[in-house]
Amino acid sequence: MITPEISWLAILPELGLALGAAAVLLVEVQWKPRAQVLGMVVAGALTIALAFTVVQWIRAQDAVAGAGQLGDLVAFSRMILMDGFAVFGRFALLVTTAIGITAGWRLIEGLGRRRAEALALILLASAGFSIMVSANNLVMVFLGLEVGSIALYVLAGMTRSSSTSDEAALKYFLLGSFASAIFIYGVALIYAGTGQFEILAIRSFFSAFIVTSPGVILIGIALMIVGLGFKVSAAPFHAWAPDVYQGAPAGFVGYMAAVAKIAGFAAIARILITGLGDLEVNWLPVVAGISALSMVGGSLLALVQADIRRMLAYSSVATAGFVMTGVVGGATSGVLFYVAVYALQLVGSFAVVAAVSGPANSASSMDEYQGLATRSPGLAAGFTILLLGMAGLPLTSGFVAKFGVFSDAWSAGYQWLVIVAVLASVLAFAVYLRVVVNMYMSDAEGPTLEVPDTARWVLMIAAAATIIWGILPGSLLDLASSAFPL
C-alpha cells in the first residue's frame, strides 16, 4: 500500500491561520484577556502564515528557474498548488487581512467579549480564500469559497443590534449561497463533460481532445462564471453589493470586499485562463460583455448614489469590470497587480468611512464629508489619494494597474473593450471626484474628527503604497509577472 506523500508546506499558511483562529477562541475562553492580547495572537498567526508564503515563493521561483521540480509545486494529492500565482494571491490575502484587522480594530475592540469570535472569523475567512486561490481542484475551490464566504456572512451581521446589519447579513447569505450553488452546479457539469475536477487535468483534456458537442461544458463554464462573478460583484450579479457594503459594519466592509475580490479574481483567472484557455473563443465574449457592463453600469450607478458606501459598492462593481479586462487579456500578472493594489485602497477607504461615520454605523451619507479637508486635513488628503488611485489617475498605482490590464486586452484583440474601458474610466473619475468635491470644495464647518491611530496607520500605508507603486511600480509589477500559474 502506498501512503500518499504529504507536502505540509503547501498548506502551512492556511494551517497557521486556522490554528490561529482556534487559539484566539481558546485564549478568550480560558483567560478573557484584553483585546491587545488577542491582537497579539492574531498577529502571530499572520506572521507565521506570511513566513511560510515567503518560503513557498522562493520554492516556486526556484522550480521555475529549474532548480527544483515543477511537480513539487502540486501537492496534497494534486489538490493544492504552490505556484507563483497561488503564493502571490496568498500573500496579498494575508497582507490585506493584517491591514483589514488593523483598520477594523476600533470596531473589534468595541465588540466586547465577542471580539475573539470576530477575529477568529476573519482568520477563517482568510484561510478559506487562501485555499481558494491555491486550489487545483474545482471542489477545493468550492470548499475554500464556502469557508470564506460563510465566515463573511457572519461578519456582515456582527453588530447584531443594528437592523441594517442583520438585513445585510441575511441578504448576503441568501444570495451568496445561491451563487455558490450555481458555481458548484457548474463544476458538476464540467465534471460530467470532462471527467475531471482538476484544473490542470482539465487543461490537458482540452488540449488533447476536441469536444464535438460541448453543450454541457459550455453551460458548466457559464454557471461557474455566474457564481464567481457574484463573488467579485461583477454586473449583472452585483445586486447584493450595495446593500451589504452599506449595511455591514464599516470596520469590516473594506476587508470583506477586498479579500472576496482577491480570491474571486484569482479563481476566475486560474479556472478560465489556465484551465479553460483552449476554449477561450467560447468564454471570452461573455467575460468581455460582463466586463463592459460592469464598467459602464457600475460607474453610472455610482454616480447617482447619495451614500458613500453605496457609491463605493457600485464603484467596486466598476472595478470588477476593469479587472475583467485583464482576464480578457489573458495575462494573469495584470489581474494580480490590479486586485493587490485595489485591495489596499478599498481597505484604506473603508477605514476612512469608519472614522467618519463610526465603525459600527450603517449609514454614511455623502454630506458627512463636506468640509472634511478643513476639519481633518490628514484624513481628507489620504482619502483623496486613495480615491484618485481607485479612479486610476496617473502617478497612482491605480493608473499603472489600469494601463496594464488595458494593454493586455488590447493585445488580445479586444480593442473595443479597451475603448469602452477608457471611456468608463472618465465616468469613474466623475464618481470619485464627487467625494473630493465634498471634502475640499465646501466650506461647511464641523467638529474635528477623532481618528483612531490604527485607522491613521492604515490610511498612511495605503496612501503611500498607492503613490509609491504609482511612480515606481517596477517592484510589484516584477513580482506579479513572475507569479504565473502552472
Binding site: L393, F403, W410, Q415, V422, L423, F429, A430, V437, M441
Partner: protein, 510 residues
Amino acid sequence: MLTWLILLPVLAAIIVSLVPSRRSELHLSLGIALAVLPLALAGYVFWAFEPVSGYQFIEDVTWYAPWGIGWTLGIDGISLPMVVLTTLLVPIALGASTSIEKRRKEFVVYTLLLEAGMIGVFLALDLFIFFVFFEAILIPMYFIIGIWGSDRRVYAAVKFFIYTAFGSALMLAGIIALAFTHAEQFGSLSFALSDLMRLDLPIGAERWLFAAFALAFAIKVPLFPVHTWLPDAHTEAPTAGSVLLAGVLLKLGTYGLLRFNLSLFPEASVDAVWIMGILAVVGIVYGAVVAIVQPDLKRLVAYSSVSHLGFIVLGTFAFTSGAMQGAVIQNVNHGITTGALFLLVGMLYERRHTKLISEFGGIQKSMPVFAGFFLFMAFASIGLPGLNGFVGEFLVLIGAYATLPVLAVIAASGVVLAAIYLLWAYERVFTGVPEKPENQNLADLSTREVALLAPLAALVLVIGLYPNVLLDKIAPSAEAVLDHVVEASGLVIPEPGRLADVFVTDGEGE
C-alpha cells in the same frame, strides 16, 4: 538637468507644505522665492540651447523595461519657449495671489505641483510619461478652480476635469495601440516618441489614431466646438488659475498637435488639413464674435483665447515654415498677453469685486497706470505692429496664405474683430465720465502689481521688436517637423513656403 526642472517645483511644493499652517504669511513669499529657482534654471537652458534642430539636454533612463517605458526627456526649439514661459508665469501668478486668504498653503502647493506637471508635459519624449503628466496636471488645476474659484467653481472645476479627461481617455487607447504596433513591427513594446515615429501605419489606422490624439488636444486648445468648458473654467478660476490656464494649459493642446500629431501621423495630418483648418477658422471668428457681446470682462478675455488659439492651430496645419514658426511663437505671445490681461482683470476684480463691464466706466481717471497697461496688452493681443502679437499672427497669416488662401483671408478678419472687442471693452470700462461713485476713487496699481506686469510688458516689446531672440531657436526645430511631414507624406509645399525659398543661407552666399 531637465529632470531638475521638473523636480525643483516638486521640492518647492514639499518645502512649502512643511511650513506650519499657522505661519500663513510665509507660504506665499516662500513659494514665490522657490518658484524663481526653476525660472533661473530654465533661463540657463534657454541660454545654453544651441539653435539647431533635434532634442538637446536629453535624459533617458529606463522606467519599466518590460513595458518599454523610459524616463525620456529632451527639449527642442518648440518646447523651449514654452518651458521658459511656464517658469516665468508661475511666480507671477503666485505674486498675483495675495488676496487669497483661505488655505493659502495648499494653494501654493497646488500651483507648484501644477508647474512641475506642465514642465513635464513639455519635456516628455516618451508617450507614457507624457500622458502621465498630461493627465496629472488636471488634479492641481481641478483643486485650484474648485477651492479658490468664485461662485460656480465646483461646476466649472468638474466640467473642466471631465471634459479634458474624456479627451485624453481616447488618447490613452491610441498610445497603447501605438506601443503594440511597435511591438508587432520591431519586436518590443516602446513608448518613445523617436521609436514610434518610425512606425509604418496603415493609413486607416493612422487616421483613427490621429483622431484620437487630435480630440484630446482639441479639447485642451480648445478648438470649436469642444471649447465650452473654457469660458466656465476661466470665469470661475482665481486669477492665478486663469493666468496659468490661459498661459500654459491651453498650449498643451497646440503643443501636442504640433509635437505628436504631426510627428506621429504625418499623412493623416496632411489629410486633415482642411478639417483642422476650418475648425480653427471657425474658432477664430466665432470666439471673436462671441467675445464682442460678453458682459463679463473675464469671459471676454476667455473667448478671445478661443479666437487666438485658432490662429495657432491654423498655423500648425498650414504646413509652411512661416506659419509653423508663427504658431510656435504665437503660443508664447498668447501666454504673455492673455496671461497679463487675466492678471489685469484680476486686479480690477480685487478692487471692485465685479467683472461686469457695465459696472465700470471712466476708471482711467483714477487708475491711469492700470489703464495704460491694459491698453498696451490689448494692443499686443490685437496684434499691433511692433508688439509681439503682430509677429505671430502675421507669420501665421502670411504662411497660411501660401497653402490655404481662403482660410487665411477669413482668419484675418479675426484681427479686426479683436480690435473691436478689446477696444470697445476698453472704451466702456476706462473712458468716459465715472458715473458710479465706487469707480471714482479706485487705487491705482501698487508697486507689487507693476512689478508683476512689467516683465510681461517688457517681453511684449522685446519679442515685438526683435522676434529673432525666439525665432532663431524655434526655426530649426519647426523646419525639422515640416521636413518630417514632407518626407513621410510626400506633401509638396508651394513656393515660397519654406525658409530656404526666402533666405539664402550664409554658406551658399559665400
